[in-house]
C-alpha cells in the first residue's frame, strides 16, 4: 500500500467526474476562442482575413458548415515572416521580421543569461548570508521591478543619449538585464530558501568550502528552478514593449515594437502576418504553460507566493 501522510490526505483534492470535464471544456474553449481565432487567421490569405461574414473554418471542414464560412488554408503568412518579401496584391514589401525575430531572441537570451548569472549569486547571498537590512535591499529590488516603465525610461533615455547607447544591442541588453534581475533574485531566493539546511551543514562539517556548498550541494537542487526562472524571464523580456519602443533603433527593433508599427501602417494592417508571428510565439508559450504548471504560480508572482 502506498504510504500517504496525514497532511497529504487532508489536502487531497476532491474528485469530480466527466460532467465537470464537459463544463470546464466549454468554459475553457470560450475563453481560448480569441487565441484560436489568432491561430486560424494565421492560415488565411489577406482577403479571407477581412471577409464578412468571418470565415472561421478551413475548407476541409466544408462538409460541416456552409461554403461561405470556409477558407483555403495557406502557409503564405509563415513564409513571409521569414522571407523578406510580402505581397498583398500590390508591390512586394520588405517585412524584415526575420531580423526582428533574431533581435528579440538575441536580446532576450543574452539579458536573461546575464541576469541569471548575476541574480543567482545575489539570491544565494540574500538567502544564506543575510546582510544588515536584508529585507530593505530586497524591497528596493522588487520595487524597481514594480515601477511603471515610463518612470524609469525618462532618465534612462537621457543617459543613453549621452553615452551613445541608444539604439545599440549593448544598451538594450544592459537595460533588460536590470529589468530581469529583480525577478531572477526573488525567484531564485524563493528556491534557495526552500532547501533544507541540514545537507549544507553536513557538507560543511565534512570540510566542504563555501564554493563547494554552492556548486555541489545547492545548485544541483535548484536546476529546475533555474530553468523555470530562465523561461519566465525569456517570456517577460520577449513581451516587453515600452523600453524596446524607445530604446531600439531600426536595426535592433524587437518583435513587439515591429508588430505595433505594422498596425500603424498606411496600406492596411496585414492581420495574417501578425497572426502568424503570434502563432509562432504561441508554441513555446503553450509548452511552457504545460511543463511549468507547478512553477507557474511562483513565476507570475515573482516568487512571493510559493503555493
Amino acid at each position: 500500500m502506498k504510504w500517504i501522510s496525514r497532511k497529504d490526505r487532508a489536502r487531497e483534492v476532491d474528485r469530480a467526474g466527466w460532467g465537470r470535464t464537459a463544463g470546464a471544456a466549454i468554459a475553457s474553449f470560450i475563453y481560448f476562442f480569441p487565441v484560436l481565432v489568432i491561430i486560424i487567421t494565421a492560415f488565411k490569405k489577406h482577403t479571407d482575413a477581412l471577409a464578412v461574414p468571418a470565415k472561421l473554418f478551413p475548407d476541409f471542414m466544408g462538409w460541416l458548415v456552409p461554403e461561405r464560412l470556409t477558407f483555403t488554408p495557406t502557409l503564405e503568412n509563415f513564409v513571409s515572416v521569414f522571407s523578406r518579401s510580402f505581397t498583398t496584391g500590390g508591390a512586394a514589401q520588405d517585412t524584415g521580421f526575420d531580423l526582428f525575430f533574431f533581435n528579440s531572441i538575441f536580446i532576450a537570451g543574452s539579458s536573461v543569461l546575464l541576469a541569471l548569472a548575476i541574480g543567482t549569486l545575489a539570491a544565494f547571498g540574500f538567502s544564506r548570508y543575510p546582510l544588515k537590512g536584508n529585507d530593505t535591499y530586497l524591497f528596493v529590488i522588487l520595487t524597481t521591478r514594480m515601477l511603471p516603465a515610463i518612470v524609469v525610461i525618462i532618465p534612462v533615455m537621457l543617459m543613453f543619449r549621452i553615452t551613445g547607447l541608444a539604439g545599440t544591442y549593448t544598451g538594450i541588453i544592459l537595460l533588460y538585464t536590470a529589468f530581469n534581475l529583480p525577478f531572477t533574485i526573488w525567484m531564485m531566493k524563493s528556491f534557495f530558501d526552500e532547501l533544507s539546511p541540514d545537507v549544507e551543514d553536513a557538507a560543511r562539517i565534512d570540510g566542504s568550502s563555501d564554493r563547494g556548498v554552492f556548486f555541489k550541494i545547492c545548485m544541483p537542487q535548484v536546476v529546475a528552478g533555474l530553468a523555470a526562472t530562465a523561461v519566465f524571464g525569456l517570456i517577460l523580456t520577449w513581451n516587453e514593449f515600452l523600453f524596446a519602443l524607445l530604446l531600439t533603433g531600426v536595426d535592433t527593433r524587437t518583435v513587439p515594437v515591429a508588430m505595433s508599427q505594422t498596425i500603424g501602417g498606411d496600406i492596411g494592417v496585414r492581420w495574417g502576418l501578425l497572426a502568424a508571428i503570434e502563432t509562432l510565439f504561441l508554441i513555446p508559450v503553450i509548452l511552457v504553460t504545460f511543463f511549468l504548471q507547478n512553477q507557474l504560480l511562483r513565476g507570475v508572482t515573482f516568487g512571493t507566493v510559493k503555493r
Binding site: 466527466w18 477581412l50 524597481t144 513581451n239 508588430m259
Partner: protein
C-alpha cells in the same frame, strides 16, 4: 599605550602592499585620479583611472572573499541595479526641480514649481480619474472571472491539466499581440464582435466610438488577459483547504453558502488579497493595451500614457519627471502593502 599600538598597527595595515589592502587602493585612487587628470594627457589619464579603479575593485574583492561573502555575492546585482535603475531615478528626481526640456538647452532651477503645477492641473486629475476607473473595473472583472474559473477547476477531473492550459495561455501573451487582436475583433466592418452585434441590428457597430465603449474595450482585453492570474492564486488557496473540514460540515448539514464563508473563504482570503494588490499595481501602470487599442482616444488616456506623451512627444522632461514621481510613490506604497501581506502569509503557512 594600547591606543598607540593600535595606531601603529593600523598605520602599518594601511601601508602594507597586500592584495586585500583596499584602504591603500582607495587612498591611491582618491589621490591618483585627480592628479592624473591634471598632470597626464587625456588618454593616459583615462588609462591611469582604469588601472586605479581596477585595483580598487580587485583589492575589495580579495578583502571580502572570506570576510564578507554575502556582500560580495550581491554586489554585482546591486551595481547593475544602481547603474540602470537607482541612478537614473535620482537623476530624474533632480530634474524634476528644474525646467529642463529635452529639445532645448536652457536649464534653470524652479524648486517645487513642477509639483505645484501638476497638482493644480485639471488634466492630471482627469487622467488619474480615468486610470482609477480602469483599475477598478478591470480588477473587479478579473477577480470575479478568475474566482469562477478557480471554482470550476478546484476539483480533480479527467483532462483537467490540458484544459487548464487553454485558460492560462492568455496570461503569457504579449500586450501588443492582445491589443492588436482585440482591435481586429472590435473592427467596425470585419471584426467578430461587430459581426455578432450586426446579427441583431443593422446599424454599424463601432465599440470604440464612445468613452464607455472604449473603456469597455480596454477592460475586456485586459481582464481577459489577466483573469487567469487571479485564478491561479485562488486555485492555490482552494486546493489548500483541508478536506476533513468539508466532511465535518457535511455531517453537520451546514448549508452551502455557510460552508463557503466559514471554510473556503478564510483559506482563500490571503491569496485573494495578494491577487488584488498585484493586479492593482499592474493595472495602475496600464499602458501597452491602451496605446495599441485607442491610443488614448475617447478620453481613455491613462496616467502612464499621459506621462509618456508629456515626456516623449512634447519633450516636457522635467514636468513628466515630477509627474512620474507621483506614480513612483503610489507604487512604493502598494508594493510595501503587498510584501507585508505576502510575508504574513508565509509566516502563518
Amino acid at each position: 599605550m594600547n591606543t598607540t599600538t593600535a595606531a601603529h598597527s593600523s598605520a602599518g595595515k594601511l601601508l602594507a602592499f597586500r592584495w586585500d589592502n583596499w584602504r591603500l587602493a582607495l587612498l591611491a585612487t582618491l589621490i591618483g585620479v585627480p592628479l592624473s587628470a591634471f598632470v597626464l594627457p587625456n588618454f593616459a589619464a583615462v588609462v591611469a583611472t582604469c588601472i586605479l579603479g581596477g585595483l580598487l575593485v580587485i583589492t575589495s574583492v580579495v578583502y571580502s572573499w572570506t570576510r564578507h561573502v554575502g556582500g560580495l555575492l550581491v554586489a554585482p546585482a546591486i551595481a547593475v541595479l544602481v547603474v540602470m535603475n537607482i541612478f537614473p531615478l535620482l537623476w530624474s528626481l533632480g530634474l524634476s526641480f528644474y525646467n529642463y526640456r529635452a529639445d532645448r538647452q536652457s536649464l534653470s532651477f524652479i524648486g517645487l514649481r513642477n509639483y505645484e503645477r501638476l497638482l493644480s492641473d485639471p488634466v492630471v486629475w482627469e487622467r488619474l480619474t480615468t486610470t482609477a476607473t480602469l483599475v477598478v473595473l478591470t480588477v473587479a472583472v478579473q477577480m470575479v472571472v478568475g474566482f469562477l474559473f478557480a471554482l470550476l477547476f478546484s476539483k480533480q477531473f479527467p483532462l483537467r491539466r490540458y484544459l487548464l492550459i487553454l485558460v492560462l495561455t492568455p496570461m503569457m501573451l504579449s500586450y501588443v499581440a492582445v491589443g492588436a487582436f482585440f482591435r481586429y475583433y472590435y473592427d467596425p466592418t470585419f471584426g467578430l464582435v461587430s459581426q455578432v452585434v450586426n446579427m441583431f441590428t443593422d446599424e454599424p457597430f463601432v465599440l470604440i466610438s464612445s468613452t464607455g465603449g472604449a473603456i469597455a474595450a480596454i477592460v475586456i482585453a485586459d481582464a481577459w488577459m489577466w483573469a487567469p492570474f487571479v485564478m491561479l492564486l485562488v486555485l492555490a488557496g482552494l486546493v489548500s483547504v483541508p478536506k476533513h473540514l468539508y466532511e465535518a460540515a457535511s455531517i453537520d448539514r451546514v448549508p452551502a453558502w455557510r460552508r463557503f464563508w466559514s471554510i473556503t473563504f478564510p483559506y482563500v482570503k490571503g491569496l485573494l488579497m495578494l491577487a488584488l494588490l498585484f493586479r492593482t499595481i499592474e493595472a495602475f501602470k496600464l499602458f501597452d493595451v491602451v496605446f495599441i487599442l485607442t491610443d488614448g482616444g475617447q478620453s481613455t488616456e491613462t496616467i502612464a500614457l499621459y506621462v509618456y506623451r508629456q515626456a516623449i512627444q512634447f519633450n516636457k522632461t522635467s514636468y513628466s519627471a515630477s509627474l512620474s514621481y507621483i506614480l513612483l510613490f503610489t507604487v512604493i506604497v502598494l508594493t510595501n502593502l503587498y510584501l507585508y501581506l505576502a510575508n504574513r502569509r508565509t509566516k502563518e503557512g
